[in-house]
Symmetry: D2
Subunit: 255 residues, 4 copies
C-alpha cells in the first residue's frame, strides 16, 4: 500500500549519529537542559534566556494537581485493572481533552487572533469580552473550581514581570482578567491554563501545541500517581464510582 | 460502591495552595528546573548537583529518534485517522512496552539485584554474564539495531565520569558491556536504554520507574511528530503497511 | 470530591440479579442473539424482525478489511512494542476517528437532518447535492479508494430490498449516490460507511452512535489481527514506516 | 526501513472483492450471524450448531454490568474530559487487564493444561485444587464480589447441559467449583470469567484469546455508557475520586 518516502524536519538519524533540528545529540546533552530541548524540538530553534526561564516555570507549574483531576483517576483506574504503567499513563493522556487542559488550546487561539489587531491590551480586552458576551460564549482559561487566585498563575506572571517578558499577549491575557472581573463582578482569575496559553503565545508557538505543553508537564505527575498506586494499593480496589441509581425501564419480560 | 478516602503522598491541594512533596508550588517554580521537579515528584526528595546534571542529560538523550520507532508510527497513524493530538500521543505511549523502552525496566531490575552482591564490578559482570548465558537469556540494555556505539550512551558516561558520578551500578553496567563483548566477540554496546537503567539505579530509583523515565523523555518528541503530521500531511495518507500477501484458505463456498 | 449518586438507565445490578434495560439477563441469554442485545442496549428496546436482519448484516459487513486500515496498523504496532492484547486493541479503537469510520457519524447526521424535510428522496437528493456543491463540501459516505462498487453495500441494500426495509432514509442514501454520479460523471458509490449510516438512521439511532457501530463491528477483526501478530510474528519487527527523508535544518553547532 | 511483505491469513482484499477466511463477504452477510462471524474470524472455521448457540449466550452474558466496573469508570472519565467516543471506548478497553477480565485468560490456560491429563473431571479437579493450594495460589475464575451464584454462569451451564455441550473441559470447570467449595467451606462459584474460559476452551480456542472474547462482549456496553454520559451529563462533572487524604511530607522550605 505504501511506497512513499516520509519527510520529516525533526530528527536525522544514521549509524552513530543523531541530530535534533540540526544539532548533534552529544552537543545538545552537553549544553542544554531538558526544558530547552522541549523548546527546540517543538519550535525548531533555541530559546533565549527569557524564554528559557519562562519554559522552566511553565513546565513546572502543571506537573501535578493531586488525585482530583480526571486524568489521574483514569490512569489509576487502568493500572488498577491489572495493566502496565505505560497503558495507565496513556489513559491519563487520553483524558486530557477539550474540557481538561483543552482551554490552553482554545485560549491561545483567541489570544493569538486578537493580539494581531490594532489597539492597546486594555482596548482589545474590552472589545474581546464584549464580543464573547454578545456571542454567549465563555472565555476559556479564566476561573478555577478550587483556587480564587491560582498560585501558579501569580508566580508565572511575577517571573515574567521581573525578567521583563511581558509582551502584548501576556498583557492582553491580564487585561482580559481585569475586564472579565470588572464586567461580571465575579472572581474570574486567569487560571494556569490561561497563563500557559499566554506564555506559549508570547513565545510564538502555534495554539495547536497548547494541549501538548500541558501533556509534557503533566506526564511526570501521572507517572508518580501510577507508581503510588502500584506500590501502595491492591489491584481492583474500589476507585469509584459513587453509588448509582438505576432509573431505566422497570423489570419486564421478554414475550 | 466507594466511600473510602484515598491516601496520597505526592501533592496536597487546598484553595490557593499547592504543595509538591511538601514544597510550595511558588517556591518550586522560583527555584527549580523542570528536570529537578521530575526528580522530586518521583523520588520525594530533591536531587543534589550531580544528580541534577545526570537527570538533564538523561531526559534530553531520548527525546526523539526520528520517525522510525514504533511509538512515532502509532502516534502518527492515530492522528491520521482524524483524532486529537492527545489521542495520538496516548497511542505513542501505549506502544512503549516490554520490547520498546521496556529494556530499561528489565536492565535496571538486574543491575539493582546484582549490585547488592559482594564483589568488584568486573567480578559481578563475569558472574552475571555467565549466569545469563547458562539460562539462555539475553542481557537487556545492550546492542542496537542502528548504532554500533550509541552516541547518547557515550555522552552520558562521559558526563558521569567528568562530574565523578560513577558509582558501583554505573561501573557494573560498563563492565557488563566489556564482558559481553569479550565473551561473544561481537559488538554489544551499552545502549541508551541500558545507560538510563544504570543512571536511575545509581540514583536509587526503583526499576519499576524505568519505562516512566523513557516516557517522560519521549513525550515531547511524540508531540513534535504529531504536530508535524498535523501541519504537513493530509489525514488518511498511506502510512503503511507494506504490501501484504494473503496466505489463508483458498476461496470457498458456504454450503 | 464526589458524593453524587450516578444515574443510569442501562443496567441494574444487585446480588444474583442483572437486568438489561429491564430484562433479566438469563431471559436475554435464553432468547436473544448477541446482535439483538447490541440493539437493545443502545436503543433501549428490542428490534423487530426486519431490524434484527439488518443489524446482523451490518455488524458482519465491517468486521475486517485486511491489514491495510490504519486501525490494524496501530493495533499491530502497539502489540509489537511488547504490550498486552487489550492495549493493542485500544490503539486500534483510538485510530477510528473522523477520517477512519467517522464518515458514518457525519453521513448519518446529514441523512437524519435532510430526511425530515418535505419531498421525495430524489428531490431531496438533488437539493442536498446542490447544497453541498455550493458550500464546497464533500458528501461523506460515498466513494472508496479500493472498491468501485462496495460489495458490502450491494449486499446490504439487496437484503433491505428483499425484506422490505427500504424506508425514506435508505432511499435517500441511494438517491444521493445516483445524483452524485449523475452530476459528477464519476464513480461515487455509497460505501460501507454510508450504508451503515443509512441503516442505523432508518432504525432511528442517533447519528452520535455512528462510530460506535463501526467499533462494535471492527473489534473482532482487530483482535484477529493482534492474535495473528502474537502467534506469527516477532516483537519489534519492521512494521513500517517507509524510508524517511530528513528535510530540516542542515547540521549546525551550538554556539 | 520496511520493505517486507506482510503475511496474513484472515482477509483477502482486492477491488470489489472481500473474502473472510476464504468466504466471500456477500455470502457471509447472507448466511451468517455476527456471532458466527466472530467465531469464523478468530477460529478460521465455521461453528457447528452447538457452538453457535454457546457463542451467542457467551457474548450476550458480559455485554454490561452497570456503571460499577473500572472499564466503565475509565470510559466515562475520558469522555467527560472532552474527548471523542472512540477515545473513551479505548480507555475502557485499556482497563480490561489482568485483574479485570484477565481471569478468563488465566483460567482458560489452566483448564486447557489440566484437561490434557489422564483422569475424570473429579479426579483432575481434586489434583488441581490441591496443587494450587500447595503453591499458595488462587484459582482464577471462581468467586464474585457481588453475586453468590452468578446468574450468567447458571444460564450458560444450563444451555450447555440442554444442548449436550458439556465436554471434558466444562465438566472440569464445574468439578473445580465443587472441590473449591468442599475444601474451603466457602462460597466460590464459577463466575462469568470462569464460564467463558470453560466454553472457549471447550470450543478449542487458544487461552490467549480469553481477554479478546470479553472485550468483544463488553464493547457495546462501554458504548452505551459513553453515549449515556454524552446525552445525560455535563463534561468535567465530578466522577470521582472520593475525598483524599494527604499523608506525604509536612510543609517544608526550599533552602
Amino acid at each position: 500500500m505504501s511506497d512513499q518516502t516520509w519527510k520529516t524536519a525533526i530528527t536525522d538519524i544514521s549509524g552513530g549519529q543523531i541530530r535534533l533540528r540540526g544539532y548533534d545529540i552529544a552537543d545538545v546533552m552537553e549544553h542544554l537542559s531538558f526544558s530547552d530541548v522541549v523548546y527546540l524540538i517543538l519550535k525548531g530553534e533555541l530559546p533565549d534566556n527569557q524564554q528559557r526561564r519562562m519554559m522552566e516555570a511553565m513546565l513546572v507549574s502543571s506537573i501535578d494537581h493531586g488525585p482530583t483531576p480526571p486524568s489521574n483517576l483514569a490512569a489509576r483506574t487502568v493500572f488498577s485493572g491489572g495493566n502496565p504503567l505505560n497503558a495507565a499513563v496513556a489513559a491519563g493522556v487520553l483524558t486530557i481533552g477539550d474540557s481538561h487542559g483543552g482551554a490552553i488550546e482554545q485560549c491561545a487561539r483567541i489570544l493569538q487572533e486578537w493580539a494581531k489587531k490594532e489597539g492597546t491590551p486594555e482596548e482589545l480586552a474590552r472589545a474581546l469580552v464584549a464580543d464573547m458576551k454578545q456571542k454567549g460564549k465563555r472565555m476559556p482559561g479564566y476561573g478555577h473550581r478550587i483556587h480564587k487566585r491560582d498560585p501558579r498563575t501569580v508566580k508565572m506572571l511575577e517571573i515574567a514581570e521581573r525578567i521583563g517578558y511581558k509582551g502584548k499577549i501576556i498583557e492582553l491575557a491580564v487585561a482580559i482578567q481585569d475586564e472579565l472581573e470588572r464586567t461580571s463582578g465575579r472572581n474570574l482569575p486567569l487560571n494556569v491554563d490561561g497563563a500557559i496559553a499566554a506564555v506559549i503565545s508570547e513565545m510564538g508557538f502555534d495554539w495547536r501545541l497548547g494541549k501538548g505543553f500541558f501533556i509534557i508537564s503533566r506526564v511526570p505527575g501521572l507517572i508518580a500517581h501510577v507508581y503510588e498506586e502500584w506500590t501502595r494499593e491492591k489491584t481492583m480496589r474500589k476507585l469509584g464510582p459513587p453509588p448509582f441509581e438505576y432509573d431505566g425501564p422497570e423489570p419486564r419480560k421478554l414475550s
